[in-house]
Symmetry: C3
Subunit: 182 residues, 3 copies
C-alpha cells in the first residue's frame, strides 16, 4: 500500500455535498483509467435527469458499468489492470436491495459483508461513495427507519474496510481515516 494512494477509499457525505465530484476528482488524479460503476436505475424522470447530469459531468476518459444489484460480481468481473473503480453510490445500491430485490435485513447484511470482503482483494483501486442519512430527525415511516439503520451499518462496515475514509460537507473533504489528501 502506497500511503499517498490508498487502495480503497470511502467517501461519505450529505445530499449534494460534493461527494461524487470529490470521488471523481480522486479517481482522475490517481493516474489510472477510471470506470464509473453506477448503481442508479432510471425509474422516473427526476432520476433520469440526475443520471444524465452526472454522465455529462464526467469526461470521455471514463467508461461506465451499470449494476444496480450484483455489485460484488460486477466489481470482480472488471479487468482491473491500471483501473480505478468508482462505485456511486452504495446508499442507492442498498435501496435497490430493499425495494427492487425485496431482501430482508439478514440477506442485506450478507450482501454488505460479501462486498466488504471483496474490497481488499481487488487489484484495481476502488472508491466507494455513500450518503450520510442518519443525522436528521427519526423518520416517522418504519421503512425509512429500517433504511436509515441499514445505511448506517453499511457505512460503518465501509469505514472499517477501506484504507481511507472521507466525510464531505459544503464540498470540502474532511479525512476521517487514512492519509491526508493534499
Amino acid at each position: 500500500m502506497n500511503l499517498n494512494s490508498p487502495g480503497s477509499v470511502f467517501v461519505v457525505g450529505g445530499a449534494k455535498s460534493g461527494k461524487s465530484s470529490l470521488a471523481q476528482s480522486l479517481a482522475e488524479k490517481s493516474g489510472k483509467r477510471p470506470v464509473y460503476v453506477a448503481t442508479a436505475q432510471a425509474w422516473d424522470q427526476e432520476m433520469e435527469v440526475r443520471i444524465k447530469r452526472h454522465q455529462m459531468d464526467r469526461g470521455p476518459a471514463w467508461s461506465t458499468l451499470e449494476e444496480s444489484v450484483n455489485l460484488k460480481d460486477a466489481l470482480l468481473g472488471i479487468d482491473h489492470r491500471d483501473k480505478v473503480l468508482l462505485v456511486d453510490c452504495l446508499t442507492l445500491w442498498l435501496s435497490n436491495l430493499m425495494t427492487l430485490e425485496n431482501l430482508d435485513d439478514e440477506e442485506i447484511l450478507t450482501k454488505c459483508r460479501e462486498l466488504s470482503d471483496v474490497i481488499p482483494r481487488l487489484e484495481a483501486k476502488v472508491i466507494l461513495v455513500a450518503n450520510e442519512v442518519g443525522m436528521g430527525i427519526v423518520p416517522e415511516n418504519a421503512l425509512a427507519r429500517r433504511y436509515r439503520d441499514l445505511a448506517g451499518g453499511l457505512n460503518q462496515l465501509m469505514g472499517r474496510t477501506c484504507e481511507q475514509a472521507i466525510l464531505v460537507s459544503a464540498g470540502i473533504p474532511l479525512v476521517l481515516k487514512g492519509p491526508a489528501l493534499f
Copy 2:
C-alpha cells in the same frame, strides 16, 4: 485531569453511526468498571429488539442501570469508586422528558442544566452519548421541530461541559474537542 483520560466525554453521531460502540470501547479501555446507564424504555417491539441487541453486545463486565427520566439523581446515586458511567443516550432521555413527563421547554432546560452542572462533580469517569438530529431538512411536524431544537441545545451544553467531545460518522471518531484518541 489526566489529559489522556478525560473525566467526561461527549459522543455525538447519527443513527447507527457506531457512536454507542465507540463509547463502549472507550469505557472498556478506561480500566474502570463500566456501568451502563440506559435511558431507553421498551414501549414497543421495535424498541425491545434494539435494547436486547445492545445488551448482548456488551459483555458480563458491565452492570446496568435503567433510568429513563431522573438522570441526575441516578448518576449521583451510583457508587463512583473505580467506575466509568456510560449514559446511552441523552437524546432518548430528552424524548422521555417531552413525551413521558410532558415537560415544557423551560422545565426541560432546567433538567439539562442540572445534569450539566453535575457532570464535573462526579468522581467516576462519565461518557454521554447523543444523536446529531439537526442536519436534515426542517421537519414538517411542530413537535419534531421542537425536539430538534431542544436536542441541539442539549448537545451544545454537553459540548461545552465535557472535557472531550467526539463526532462519529461511518463508525470513525472525529475529536471535536479535548485530547486525541490514539
Copy 3:
C-alpha cells in the same frame, strides 16, 4: 489576506448547532463594527419568537439590516469601512427565493453565483451562515428534495468561495478549510 483573519468565512451546521453563536463570536472578536444582515421574515409566531431571541442575544454594538431577497445588493450597499458583515442565514435566503420569489432553479443558481462573485470583492470582512440539511433521509416531498439539492449546491459554492469554512456540531467548530481558529 491576513492568514489569522480571513476576509470571508463560511459557517455551516445543523439546526441549533451553535453556528450563529459561533459566527457572532467571530464577528465580535474581529475588532470591526458588526452588522447583522438578517434574511429572516417573521411570517408566523414561531419565527417571530426565534428572531426576537436572536436579537436579544446580540449586544448594542450590533447594527441590523433586514434583507430577505436582494442579498447581493444589500451587501454592496453597506458602508464597508471597519465593518464585519454577518449574513444569517443563507439557507433561509434560499428558501425565500423559492417560496417568496417563486424563482426556478436556473434563476436561483444565478442569484447564488452573483452572491458568490461579490464576496471576494467586499472591503468588509464577511461571515456567512448556512444550515447543513443534507444528512437526513431523502424527504418524501418533492419540494423538500429540491430545496435540499439547492441548499447543498449553495453550500458547495460558499465552501469554494470563502477563505475559511467551518462545520459546527454540538457548539464546537471544526475547521474544514483555512486557518485554525485558536
